[in-house]
């Protein structure tokens, strides 16, 4: 009973955060950022149904997202030209159904095997559709894409969706419902068997389940929710291009799920938030943001294989032992020089590609053409690197002692 209560509280808290966010951050930039996050979260969670929960590595998940988006923008056009008459709030559901339909068809042959076969088929289908989208101009609009106008639909309770904040509440509502259903799916027999097939498809067959059928069900559900995300995208931007269904979008959703953490339901949510922030904010400051994203991904794969969610969950034992405080100082001791090191590296990267060849930091003018700048930066970088390495043993020791539990083999992770 207590468990159900805590779980309900988490969901009520989630809903409250969604409702209250725009009260605290009401700038146009913030709201448009929230909209992008909502779309990314639904998309990343749907991707994790495949990779994290079902063990299917897809390089073409944007197909279902993009098809949902294109259908949604065509639905907007139909509403605009009064062919059909319904409120735009239902469009994400329609987009989801298109995603489902596409997944029903593609999944019927691609889910036969997981692993490399599945990954290659997903890549092929993704490329196929991206190429076709430039050929079938009447539906996909070629390179120009298709644009619509969300304000023609009949108003719902007087809301006509002129403003971003109205789209925010629409997207938040869809995100909440989609998140809830994706979570509930993990708690059903089909969802649990997806984990079992991910772990050991052969064994699953010997307890009465066709691994292929189990994958197919997850695949279809995943396509449905990706379609919903695509529908939200179309409503938010009122403009859909080939990019929504090509490999770039497929790659981005993989990064979100991976950086956030595949093994945890909340992982892709974190990943979607982090990547949306990088995408929108970082790109205002530097042209190199894609490089930084790549580095972030690399560091995650190397040092946090369970993603940010996994990193947070690593501290569960220490937290339960009430020893988390012992970790604060060792963490700071390592993090501060590590951040100095990273900041210096960033400075060197920025200096090396800037056109005006100088950058001002902490009231200092750094010139890319002076060798003293480079020498100084290299010195700081190597020193901070050394200091970081020197602090690591102490951190490791603190970690061991904070996580030491008698008779609990769990502590080894």
């Amino acid at each position: 009973m207590k468990k159900i209560l805590t779980k309900s509280l988490v969901w009520i808290g989630y809903l409250a955060v969604l409702l209250l966010l725009p009260q605290f951050f009401d700038s146009i930039l913030a709201v448009s950022l929230f909209n992008q996050m909502a779309i990314a979260i639904v998309f990343a969670l749907s991707y994790n149904m495949l990779l994290g929960q079902g063990g299917m590595l897809s390089f073409g998940h944007a197909v279902y997202f993009g098809l949902g988006g294109f259908l949604a923008v065509h639905a907007l056009l139909l509403i605009e030209f009064e062919t059909v008459y319904f409120s735009i709030v239902y469009i994400p559901l329609l987009a989801g159904l298109v995603g489902l339909l596409a997944a029903l068809f593609i999944g019927s042959f691609s889910t036969r095997k997981a692993g490399t076969v599945f990954a290659m088929i997903s890549l092929g289908i993704g490329e196929l559709l991206a190429a076709s989208s430039l050929i079938f101009v009447s539906f996909f609009g070629g390179e120009a894409g298709v644009s619509g106008d969300r304000t023609y639909g009949p108003p719902l309770f007087g809301v006509e969706f002129f403003q971003n904040i109205e789209i925010y509440y629409l997207a938040a509502a869809w995100m909440f419902v989609a998140t809830l259903f994706m979570y509930l799916f993990t708690q059903t027999p089909a969802g649990r068997m997806a984990n079992a097939v991910r772990d050991n498809p052969e064994r699953a067959e010997f307890i009465g389940y066709s691994a292929r059928r189990v994958r197919y069900i997850s695949f279809c559900a995943s396509g449905f929710f990706a379609g919903i995300a695509g529908g939200l995208y179309a409503l938010n931007y009122e403009f859909v291009t080939e990019e929504t269904l090509n490999a770039v979008t497929s790659g981005r959703v993989l990064l979100m799920a991976y950086i956030g953490g595949l093994g945890y339901f909340i992982g892709p949510i974190l990943g979607a938030v982090i990547l949306t922030l990088m995408n929108s904010l970082l790109s205002n400051y530097t042209d190199l943001w894609m490089l930084y994203l790549g580095i972030l991904f690399l560091l995650t794969v190397l040092f946090l294989p369970k993603g940010f969610a996994g990193f947070i969950m690593m501290h569960r034992v220490a937290w339960l032992q009430r020893r988390i405080r012992k970790l604060v100082l060792p963490y700071l001791a390592t993090a501060i020089p590590a951040m100095v090191f990273m900041a210096t590296c960033v400075l060197m990267l920025e200096l090396s590609h800037l056109e005006d060849e100088s950058i001002s930091v902490l009231n200092m003018e750094l010139s890319a053409s002076s060798s003293s700048t480079w020498l100084g930066l290299l010195l700081i970088a190597s020193t901070s690197m050394l200091v970081t390495r020197r602090t690591l043993p102490a951190l490791r020791e603190a970690w061991e002692s904070a996580n030491h539990v008698a008779d609990e083999p769990e502590s080894k992770s």
Binding site: N195, R203, A204, F206, I207
Partner: protein, 250 residues
């Protein structure tokens, strides 16, 4: 009444014959052991019966129904469960989830995505019941992959019996265990297969002779004998082909 019948079963991998015309009747409730030297085809025979490999020729029937060449999940649904020579569990799921997955099909959940597992009282009670039987209740929430080896074998047995199958096939269930672990495992196998048909492959002769009602001897893909333990022990043909050194040691 015989529950499992193999009739002239052949298996070739390419040109190589592995199983050459095996005929075998297994009675309901019987404890049957299959022995034979390495490479005799014992595991292959298991794979043929449980549907991992298709047969090249011949028929296999479970309760009179032909099951040869059906996919493994169809055979499992008809009441045949098995374990594997190499531990074969769901390593990232908890011990409890492993057992619960084993129960799902028998309890009629199929591919349901509308039932919430947490609310299925009967299912969860049954899963806890099996955990008690195999002695892993204390470990219910552990990831299965972190269990000790003997516990993983017990879990595998638990998954097999969870399906409610009437025929349980165990492939070397005590291989790699210490003597005391093996004793516990044998006691566990006896307990949980009570009233069911048991077919096992095992190398440890003391275990085989202790547990089996009948023993089949497989040599180079052919069944050279199928009889009670005492007759097998005294059969010269078997002595010659396989048992010679083992009985001399005892």
């Amino acid at each position: 009444m015989s529950i499992l019948t193999l009739n002239n079963v052949h298996k070739h991998f390419g040109e190589t014959p592995i199983i050459c015309g095996v005929n075998l009747n297994i009675e309901e409730g019987e404890r049957h052991a299959i022995i034979g030297p390495n490479g005799a085809g014992k595991s292959t025979l298991f794979h043929l019966i449980s549907g991992k490999y298709p047969v090249t020729e011949g028929t296999i029937s479970l309760r009179g129904q032909a099951i040869q060449n059906l996919p493994p999940y169809e055979i499992a649904r008809r009441g045949l469960a098995r374990s594997f020579q190499v531990t074969n569990i769901f390593p990232r799921l908890s011990v409890f989830e492993n057992i619960r997955c084993g129960l799902l099909w028998k309890m009629g959940y199929g591919y349901s995505f509308w039932n919430l597992l947490g609310r299925q009282h009967d299912l969860n009670t049954a899963a806890h019941g099996i955990l008690d039987q195999i002695g892993l209740s204390q470990r219910a929430d552990y990831p299965a992959g972190e269990l000790a080896y003997a516990q993983q074998r017990a879990l595998e047995l638990g998954i097999a019996i969870a399906s409610g199958a009437e025929v349980i096939m165990l492939d070397e269930p005590v291989a790699g265990m210490s003597h005391s672990e093996a004793e516990n495992a044998v006691a566990l196998i006896r307990r949980v297969t009570e009233g069911k048909t048991l077919i096992m492959v095992e190398h440890d002769m003391s275990i085989v002779f202790g547990i089996a009602d009948r023993i089949s001897v497989l040599v180079y893909g052919e069944l050279i004998a199928c009889d009670t333990p005492s007759n097998i022990r005294s059969s010269e043909k078997v002595q010659e082909a396989y048992l010679g050194t083992v009985t001399a040691d005892e």
